[in-house]
C-alpha cells in the first residue's frame, strides 16, 4: 500500500510537470494575439493650396483651407484623387 501511495505521488508530480511544460509549448507555438492598434489620428497643421488664393488665416488642416475648384499652376492639369 505504501509503495502504491509513493508511486501515485510520483506519478502525479511527474504528470503535473509534464502537463505544465506541454501547455507552455502549445502556447508558445500558438498564433500571436492581435497586435495593439498603432494607427493614429493626427490633426495636421494648415496646408495651403497651390495658387495665390490662400486662406492664410485658416486655423486648421480640416477647416476652411479647402476651397471649391482650386486651379493648379498654369500648364499643369488638375489631378484630383476622389475615389470611385
Amino acid at each position: 500500500m505504501k509503495l502504491f501511495r509513493k508511486a501515485l505521488r510520483y506519478w502525479i508530480a511527474i504528470t503535473s510537470v509534464l502537463s505544465f511544460m506541454g501547455g507552455w509549448v502549445i502556447l508558445a507555438h500558438s498564433p500571436k494575439p492581435v497586435q495593439p492598434v498603432t494607427v493614429q489620428s493626427i490633426t495636421l497643421p494648415a496646408i495651403q493650396p497651390f495658387d495665390g488664393n490662400v486662406n492664410t488665416n485658416s486655423p486648421g488642416f480640416f477647416s476652411d483651407n479647402s476651397q471649391a475648384n482650386p486651379q493648379l499652376r498654369s500648364g499643369l492639369p488638375s489631378l484630383r484623387t476622389r475615389g470611385s
Binding site: 492598434v37 495636421l44 493650396p49 489631378l79 484623387t81 475615389g83 470611385s84
Partner: protein
C-alpha cells in the same frame, strides 16, 4: 503640358503629357485606343466583353487574352496578399445588393429589388480558381463569377501611361481619380495631387505632392444607392457579403503601381483602423495611406502621415 479628356470605364479620364506636340498626338491616340479596348474587354456590363465570356465559362477552362490573364493573375496574388479582403468573386453579392448594371444606368432606372433567395447561396472561394500560366487558361469553379472593376481600371491607367510615356518626357493618366504618373513635369520635383473631400466633393480636403507612381482612392460615398430602403454602396465586405461597414469613409493609397494602390485602398477601407497597419506590414509593398473618417479626421500610420505632411504642398 497637353491634355486630352475622354469618358471611359464609367469615369472621366484625363491624359496629360509633356513633350513634342507631333509625338504627343501619336501617344494620345495610342493611349486612348488602349483605354477604350481595355474598357470593352474588362467591363461586366456588356455580354460581349471578354470578362463576361469568362464568367459564362465557369466550370470549363477558358482561353484568355494576355491582358485578361495578367489582370486575373494579379487579382489572385492580391487576394492572398490581403488575406481575402480584396476578392473579385463577390460579384453575386454586388448584384444581390442592386449593383447589377452600370452606375449610370442604375441611377437612371433605380436598383433591382433585394433577392433574399440568394442570401443563403454559397459561392466557391476565389482561391479555388485555377490559372495555367503556360497556356493562359483560367478555370473558374462552377458558380463563380468575378468583377475586375477597380483593379482593371488601375491596370488600364498604368498601361496607358506607359504607352503615353514613350512619346512624352512626363505624363499622367487619371482614370476617375485613380492615377499613374510617369516622370516629372519640367521644373517640378513632384506631381501636385488634390485629395477631394469625400463629404463635399466640390471641395479639396488637402493637396499632396506625389512622386512618380500611383495614387488611388476608394470611398463609400460615391457609388451609392438605395435598395428596399437600405443605403447601399459598392464596397462589399467579403466576410459578410454586404456593403462594408467601416470607421473610414475614404482611403487613399500612394503606391508604386496602380493595381496596388487600387487594391489596398479598397482593402484598407474594408479593414478599418484596427487592421490597417497589419495589412500593410503583411503586404511587403511600400504603401502610404491616408484615410478619412466621418469627422474628416485623417488617419494613417505615423510614418505615412509624416511622409504626407512632408510632401504637402507648401
Amino acid at each position: 503640358m497637353e491634355i486630352v479628356r475622354l469618358r471611359a470605364m464609367n469615369s472621366d479620364v484625363l491624359l496629360a503629357a509633356e513633350g513634342q506636340a507631333a509625338q504627343l498626338a501619336a501617344g494620345f491616340a495610342q493611349a486612348q485606343q488602349f483605354i477604350l479596348a481595355g474598357e470593352s474587354r474588362f467591363t461586366r456590363f456588356t455580354e460581349a466583353s471578354e470578362l463576361s465570356e469568362l464568367n459564362r465559362s465557369a466550370g470549363k477552362r477558358f482561353q484568355a487574352s494576355s491582358d485578361l490573364f495578367s489582370v486575373v493573375e494579379l487579382a489572385q496574388c492580391f487576394f492572398h496578399l490581403t488575406r481575402g479582403l480584396f476578392d473579385p468573386s463577390i460579384l453575386p453579392e454586388l448584384k444581390r445588393v442592386g449593383y447589377d448594371r452600370s452606375m449610370e444606368v442604375l441611377r437612371e432606372e433605380g436598383p433591382s429589388p433585394l433577392f433574399e433567395s440568394l442570401l443563403d447561396s454559397e459561392r466557391p472561394s476565389f482561391s479555388e480558381m485555377d490559372l495555367d500560366e503556360s497556356e493562359h487558361t483560367i478555370l473558374l469553379p462552377p458558380g463563380m463569377s468575378i468583377d475586375l472593376g477597380g483593379i482593371a481600371k488601375g491596370w488600364i491607367a498604368e498601361q496607358a501611361a506607359v504607352i503615353l510615356s514613350r512619346y512624352a518626357t512626363a505624363c499622367a493618366v487619371d482614370a476617375g481619380g485613380d492615377m499613374f504618373l510617369v516622370g516629372l513635369p519640367e521644373g517640378l520635383e513632384v506631381w501636385p495631387v488634390e485629395l477631394e473631400d469625400p463629404l463635399q466633393p466640390e471641395r479639396v480636403l488637402t493637396s499632396l505632392k506625389v512622386n512618380p507612381g500611383a495614387v488611388a482612392t476608394s470611398t463609400v460615398m460615391k457609388r451609392t444607392w438605395k435598395q428596399a430602403g437600405l443605403n447601399r454602396h459598392h464596397i462589399i465586405d467579403p466576410c459578410t457579403g454586404e456593403p462594408a461597414v467601416s470607421d473610414w469613409i475614404s482611403v487613399t493609397v500612394i503606391a508604386p503601381h496602380a493595381c496596388e494602390a487600387e487594391v489596398f485602398a479598397k482593402s484598407l477601407l474594408i479593414a478599418g483602423p484596427q487592421e490597417a497597419d497589419e495589412i500593410i506590414r503583411n503586404s511587403g509593398i511600400s504603401l502610404t495611406y491616408l484615410a478619412v473618417d466621418q469627422g474628416k479626421k485623417i488617419w494613417g500610420n505615423q510614418l505615412s502621415l509624416e511622409e504626407i505632411y512632408a510632401n504637402a504642398v507648401p
